[in-house]
């Protein structure tokens, strides 16, 4: 794997007021690549889902810290890692299945992971029950040079 050309780390409390902060911080970093509006909104949607999961699942009835790391590579690839030290996931494969949810009574759709998967190029989830969960997402932003020629 290449060395990143730029990187940042941000951490914040798992209160719902910070969902938009986490999303905005990633958007501000990704803006360097001058993505299209669609690409940026895909990224923001995926980040929102992952951050929301930390707030509502990982730190359910507690307040914890959410850690985001972003790395930018020379080829326009962006990696976003969203990590919590919350309850963790027993069976990751099952949790990632569309419509699977552990909060049936609430208006949660069980589509968070499916949304992340479809809005980003690649998604990797690792988790240890009682220790926390790490979600890593990748997306390549096409260089604008190529498009200018069309």
């Amino acid at each position: 794997m290449m060395k990143p050309t730029n990187e940042m780390a941000v951490s914040f409390l798992s209160c719902s007021a910070n969902e938009s902060f986490g999303r905005a911080a990633v958007a501000a970093f990704a803006a360097q690549l001058d993505p299209t509006i669609d690409e940026l909104s895909d990224i923001k949607t995926a980040v929102s889902e992952a951050v929301t999961n930390c707030i509502v699942h990982a730190y359910r009835d507690t307040l914890g810290v959410i850690y985001i790391t972003c790395k930018l590579y020379e080829d326009g690839r962006l990696s976003i890692r969203i990590r919590d030290k919350g309850c963790g996931i027993e069976d990751v494969e099952k949790a990632m299945q569309p419509l699977f949810t552990t909060s049936e009574n609430e208006e949660r759709a069980g589509l968070g992971f499916a949304v992340m998967e479809s809005f980003m190029d690649k998604l990797r989830v690792t988790s240890k029950p009682g220790k926390g969960t790490t979600v890593t997402m990748y997306k390549t932003i096409k260089r604008r040079q190529a498009e200018k020629n069309t």
Binding site: A24, A31, D38, S41, F119
Partner: protein, 77 residues
């Protein structure tokens, strides 16, 4: 999911840099207009409501028109 995705996006392939500058321009216009109207400066939230945009989008847009200090001489000198 593909359909949700298609539904959520209105096929906007404009580069963010341009769209942010447009938004920043509209925000500054709204600020002038609302300041004149109410005799006080509007808050970010009031401007966001006026433009029908999330607050974070207005903040990011304003950043796109801010000058870097580390590359140029500060404007105050």
């Amino acid at each position: 999911i593909g359909e949700i995705r298609r539904y959520l996006r209105d096929n906007n392939s404009i580069r963010v840099s341009r769209s942010l500058r447009d938004t920043a321009y509209k925000a500054m216009q709204a600020k002038e207009r609302m300041t004149a109207q109410n005799n006080r400066e509007p808050t970010i939230e009031e401007i966001a409501k006026e433009l029908d945009l999330p607050r974070e989008d207005v903040v990011l847009a304003l950043e796109s028109i801010a000058e870097p200090v580390s590359l140029y001489e500060p404007v105050f000198s």
